[in-house]
Symmetry: C3
């Protein structure tokens, strides 16, 4: 998920940018309270507050525990233990990572991407296996990054039990490459293939998507989607960032997910203090998701790949289905920051956080 | 629905701008694949891809059909046939067209519009009759276009079985013309009439709406709504377009509709290559609808009739209930382009496209 | 709810700004029809139109009543009587008012706010008592207003039966003051307390919120939320307004509410003709609410406390969960104006208006 050199033209393998849980925890240890919480994943959840947190110490003695009946305290402790358990497991290890940067094959100057659609089992959260449709076994499918003017070929092989097709959402292509069965092409039947070939339009750089446009409520809901990013020939100064992240929202049959996983299996976004990072929000679901970042604001630069007339600031950005919004975050506040959909029912129950919750970790 | 001379002051009859299916198909034949698909409406659906489409030819031989069990292929073919059937029927003929431009009577310099609210049966999609409440038998009601400074009189006659009233949504009128029963006027009882008379405020040009403001969740959901457009005395250069379209969204008791019809009975929007067209989005429903246009972007110019500080671009525009958004499309990409709500559940099921789906047809 | 001197630094008591029903009605009497409707609260609802309203007089004789069967008229009258009853009761008196400006204690230059979270019964609409969680017995909690650079201390006492914590939504605080249990602090157990202390960041002025960040879908849905406003050291000219109002939306277990009450118990917003007023919209719910004002437009100045690059105008503003939007209204149109969420199902049923409905009353 994490792209270390996003504006580089060089291809990298499918493993590129994977942040291991171990590496994340190394990064996170600068925050004593956060580290205490995050380091205990897999161990018995301990409800004891970290001694390194002065507020934890302060919290206990202010009111006499005796004033609260033991049964109420026990019920609160039981609820809190469930909350703590989820957070201590974050980022929880699950099989499979989606949205991995895909290296093209170069064939006579054409960037060639082979995408196979098939039915898989996907571990959306620890131990929670769901039926999925996936490109190359990933949900979201592999991240495709090309540059304005690149010649691009996408070989779609359909190993599903139903027909499919790919629409490049936001990319202004010739009509016969638009990927809508019976309007611009025939459906790609089970066992068959189809080749999309086009030039990434100059002037159409930005954050786009590819996804099924056949039986799409089902196929996209099950995972046939991915980021299609066209990098500009000449990036704007505001685009020069330390990290360039994609954050794809979905709310289909897999529940509420960020990049194909629900909390605590979501991956954190990381930055060093002082970094500017970019988040490319993409909504592949059927509901709005107002994404809220704690601790720092976001500067909105692009809508659907098009520059806004002027950048503008917010801390909660409403992403509607089909929309892409690009923001820059000036990571000037160290710590582990909650980062979640602010429809609270997409993020937390009485059993703790779930679904569309992740963190931005700013390390000193 | 299609307004050929939208900025003209001259009135036209209720038939003005109706695009017949025959005329549409003439326009559409420039796209071989699209024409093949669209031309077969009413015939047996043929699943054979058009020979005129090179990709259709390419699609078949890449993988040996033998690799796929016949039962899977048959199931896929059955699903595809349902999808194809809907698209081949588009634009399907149904009884009644809403949003027809209404010519006023001129009485002593006043533009007079007679609106009768009554209960009707409305064919929302082929063969699908629904109970509706309508102004002058149309869903949406007749399109009203006046000019800044015009004196306007609306004679409402209530032939419903319940009281009603009309609110001019977005128009800054004197309080007693605001149309809210028990706050600004008494309800208009069954069998009674009420006259609204006002001057279209100078400085308040743009895309507005009229609709019931009494038992409104029901009455607007059933069809008591329409476009109320105030044309500016001095249009901005960006407003000089070849076609000026209204696109009203609703999601009440008639399901997901565009201008009162669900796909395949929705009407396509048409343009000639190189045309600039305007779409006036209006949401009369209770849900958001992020409208996505394929093949070209949209330049947003107005919100609720008010110019945005600067135009901005997108391909997916989220229209919330009560909002109006005006966009300009530079039709520089020929073809038949899917144009739909990107909440995929409002646009497609396993049985094919339905509801909030239409097309923008750009002919050479 | 009504803050008469919002930019003043002086503290006022919890009663400050409460508009009594009597005072409201005095203000409202300039509109004959409105006054007739509004003055009858508590009396038998009379369906007779006011003689002071010329349209009421006009409405009756146009169609002969004989044309409408008596049973239809009776059914319409019965429905209308329910609608009228709600409007005549507005603003209905209920026990408790939320969002009352809270005066801090000043302790060595620190503004100290004591907030106690407890379970209460809340009268959300006349006679409708609901279980709530509240800060200091108010839903929303007390309105907190500080100034950029102020030192602020919030003493949270938890008298709930479950743990809690407070997140200052939109305020860029040091990580250990961010209020997220197990990430930035331990949960505050029943009977315990926790102190948040920080400097209101300079450059972070605007409309923010405080709310629970523990079991938040439940706790915020039940009322643990409030406005946290940071006033700028140097207000912009556009911020100099006659009235500065907060309008908090919620859609949790209490139904659709504005500042903790459903219509007709919502409080009207009032202005004198020619006043500029500010509305600070805050959405603490889980759904969008496109707020529509009749009669006048709104000029949007801030998003989440951050100035938009340029102000822009609308009459329907979509507020998503977690968002804050600040608008200026130039009250140049006298009358009692409906002001409501335009998701009509959040505002009206066949029994009349309810939920997210209030009024802006502009008096001469």
């Amino acid at each position: 998920m994490l792209i270390e050199t996003p504006l580089s033209d060089s291809a990298s393998d499918a493993e590129h940018g994977v942040t291991s849980r171990r590496a994340f925890l190394r990064t996170a240890t600068f925050t004593a309270a956060g580290a205490a919480a995050l380091a205990a994943c897999g161990k018995d959840a301990s409800a004891k507050p970290s001694a390194a947190d002065p507020h934890a110490v302060a919290a206990t003695p202010v009111a006499a525990a005796a004033a609260t009946p033991a049964s109420i305290r026990a019920a609160a402790d039981a609820m809190d233990a469930m909350h703590e358990k989820g957070i201590k497991c974050f980022p929880a290890k699950t099989a499979g990572l989606g949205n991995q940067l895909m290296a093209p094959k170069l064939v006579n100057g054409v960037k060639v991407y082979d995408l196979t659609a098939s039915e898989i089992q996907w571990e959306v959260a620890p131990g929670q296996m769901v039926a999925a449709m996936a490109y190359n076994g990933q949900v979201p499918g592999p991240q495709i990054r090309v540059r304005e003017g690149d010649r691009v070929r996408i070989n779609l092989k359909n190993e599903l039990k139903q027909s499919t097709a790919i629409h490049m959402h936001g990319v202004e292509l010739p009509n016969d490459m638009d990927g809508v069965p019976f309007i611009t092409q025939p459906p790609v039947k089970p066992g068959e293939s189809f080749t999309y070939e086009f030039t990434a339009p100059v002037g159409n750089a930005g954050s786009h998507m590819y996804h099924s446009h056949h039986n799409s409520a089902t196929q996209v809901g099950l995972g046939l989607l991915g980021a299609f990013i066209i990098e500009p020939k000449t990036p704007r100064p505001i685009e020069k960032v330390a990290q360039d992240y994609v954050l794809i929202l979905n709310d289909g049959m897999h529940g509420f997910t960020i990049n194909g996983k629900g909390f605590p299996a979501t991956q954190p976004f990381t930055a060093k203090l002082g970094d500017k990072i970019r988040i490319r929000y993409m909504n592949e679901g059927m509901m709005i998701h107002p994404m809220h970042l704690h601790g720092m604001h976001m500067t909105v630069i692009d809508k659907d790949g098009w520059a806004q007339p002027q950048p503008w600031k917010c801390d909660t950005l409403n992403i509607a289905p089909g929309e892409r919004w690009d923001v820059i975050i000036n990571c000037n506040n160290p710590g582990t920051w909650a980062f979640h959909c602010h429809i609270l029912g997409h993020a937390e129950t009485e059993h703790g956080m779930f679904g569309m919750v992740t963190a931005l970790v700013v390390s000193k």
